[in-house]
Amino acid sequence: MGEQIYDVIVIGTGAGGGMAIKTLCEAGLKVCAVNAGRRLDPEKDFRYHRMPWDMKFRGLDDPKRRGESYGYMDNEYTKAAWDHEIPFTVAPATKWMWPRCNAVGGKTNFWGRSSARFGDIDFRAASLDGYDVDWPLTYAEIDPFYTRVEKMIGVASTVQNRPSNPDGNYLPPFKFRCLDYILEAGCNKVGVPYLPDRCAQLTQPHEGHPACHFCGECTTGCDVGAFFSTPYFLLPKAEATKKLELRTDALAKNILVDGNGHAAGVAYIDRKTKQEVEVYGRTVVVAAGCVESSRIMLNSKSRHWPNGIANSSGQLGRNLCDHLYGESARGYLPQLLGQPSFPDHVADSTIAWMPRWQNLKDPHEETFIRGYSVYPDGGCTEFPWFANALDGFGSSFKHEIKQRYPTPVSFGIQAPTLRSDTNYMDLDPEIKDPYGIPVARMHFKWDENVLKMWEHCKQVCAEVLKASGGVLEESGDAPEIPGFSLHETGTCRMGNDPKKFVTNRFGQTHDVPNLYVCDASVFLNCTDKTTTISILAFTLRTSEHLIEHFRRGELQSA
C-alpha cells in the first residue's frame, strides 16, 4: 500500500502510554502514538501561580459551566485540559462521574501523586481470604520494576516496614506539619499508623528534574515539572530517540485487524478535520485508561471478533472496580486556635497517610475483607471553607474565622470495591459520541464490603480526632459518587486462563498476540493503593516483554 508500517501503535499518552512509548522508542522501535486530545502548552494552558483575584471568577469558574464542569480538579485554572465532548451513559440506578483529561499526558498532568507499591498481600488476597482469584504474578517479579520506576520518577517517603506496604527507594519525605504531629499522637493512642505518604514530588533535584518549590498548586499543573508527568518525564526521552511520531487530536475509534484477526493498526478520528484516518503497525498497545481502552476494544468488532477484539472470554469490560472516596470525618484541632498561619498546603494533597491497618494478622479480623487507607489533611488552605458552618456575623465572626484558620482537619478514605458480576461497562446500544462512535455505558454500585469499610473508617477517624484532642464536627454523611477517584480498574484483567481473562500475565491479550494493554484495566482489582505507580511498573514490564518478542522475531511479520 505504500503506507508506513510502524513497529508499534500506542493509544494514549498517560502513565501507561507514556511509559510504553519511552521504553519502546529507547529500544529502537518505531512508534506512532495517537492521543485523543491536544498537546498542552504549560505557558498558556496551566494557570498556575495566579492569585484568585487575578482570575475572572476568583478560581471558582463561570457559574454557567456548572452543569458541564466535573468539579474538583476541573476548574477555572485547568478547564482547558479536560474533555467535555465525549459523553458516556449510565445504566438505571448507576451513578458515575468520569472526568477525563485527554490532553497529552492525560491525568498525569494533575494527578494526586500518592505512590505506594502493591504487595503480595494484594496479589495473594484471594488465597488469604477466599474471595475471587489471585493475581498471576508475585511481588518478587514486579519488585525490580517498581525500583526502576521510583528511580525514574522520584518518590518522597520513608521506609516503614508495614505488612501491607512493601518499601522502596525514597527521596527525603515531606516534613510533618503541626497538625501531623498532633494527629500522629492521636493515631498512636488509637493504635493506627500515621506516616509520611509516598508522594511522587521531588523534595530534592532528581535525575535532571528540579526540586519542588512547594507552592502548593500541583493540581493546576506544574511549571517546572517537579512531579512526575509524562510530558515532563517520559515524552522528551522518547522524542530524543527520533523514533516517535505523536499524533494529537486523534481519537481512537477501533483497532484494525488483518486476515488472521491479528492487530494491524488503529483507526482514529482526526478531531480537527473530523475525518477517519488509519495508521498501521506490527503491534498495538492500548493505554487509553481503563474504561476508554475497553470501549475501544469493544468497538473493534470484526469477522474474527464479533464481540470486540480479544474478547473470546467475554470478560472485556467486566469486573469493574473503583475506589470509594469520601470525607470520613471532619473537625478541628483547638490546640492550634489563633496560631500564626503556616504553609500547610505545600504538597497540595498528601503529606501523610494512614496506610492499611485492617485484616493484617488475620484476613477475617474485621466484618469486611481486605482493607482501606486514609489520607488526613487540613491546616491553612487557600480558602477558609469551614467559615460557612460557623454561626453569626460581624467582628466576632471575622475573629472566629481568623482563630480557626490553622485548625481544620479532615480524613479521606480510599477503599477498594470487590470484583462483582454486576459492576461493569459495555457499549451503549443507542447513544453515540459526536463522531458516531458508541459510547461507554456504566453499570456500577458500591458493594456491601466497601460500605462496611466506610462505616468502619468513620468510627476510627472520629476516635483518632478525639484522641488527638480535636473536635469532631462532621462524621461522613455520604461517600463521593463512583468514578470520582479516577482509579477504575479491572475491565481487561490479567490471568493465566484464556477462558477467564483478557490478557496474560504480561498484559498481552490471550487472543491477539500482537495486542497489549497498558493501563489499570489489567489489574484484578484496585487494592487500597493508588494506581499510577503500578501502571508505570506493570507497563515497563509489559513493554520489555513486547521488545523481547521483537528481538525473537515473533512480531516481525504482521
Partner: protein, 143 residues
Amino acid sequence: MVERLAEMIIPSDETLGAKEAGAAEFIDFMVASDPEVQYPFRMGLAWLNAHSESSAGKKFVDLSGEQQNSLLVPLGFKSKARPGEEDGRKFFALVREYTVTGFYTSEIGFKELDNPALKFYAESPECPHKNDREHKHLSHAKS
C-alpha cells in the same frame, strides 16, 4: 443594600473588611453571571425590605446601623432565631456565603488570614514546635 450587608457581615474593625475588599462588587458580578442565584437574591432583598418596612417603617438601607443590626441578629445567630423568619435566614446565609467568598479570595482577605498560598520554599516547611509535638503548651493558644 448588598454592600451594607457585606459590610456588616465582615466589618472593618482593627483590620480591613468587606467594604475595602470590594466584596459587594464581587457579589454583583457573580450574581449577574449566574441565572440560578438571581431569583433567590431578588426575593431575599425584597423580603428584607418588606420585613424592615413592617417592623421599622423604613427600607433597610434607611435604618440606623443599630436598627439594621437588630433585624439581622435573629437571621444570623442560631440562638436568636425567631419563628416565621425562615426565608430571611436562608437569604442571610446566602449573602454571608457570598461575602465570605468575596472577602477571603481578595488580596485584603489573604492579608487578613496571612494566607500562605503561593509562596515558595527551599524545602518542605516543618512544624516549628520541636519541644511540644502534641502542641499542648503553645503560647498563643486559647485554652
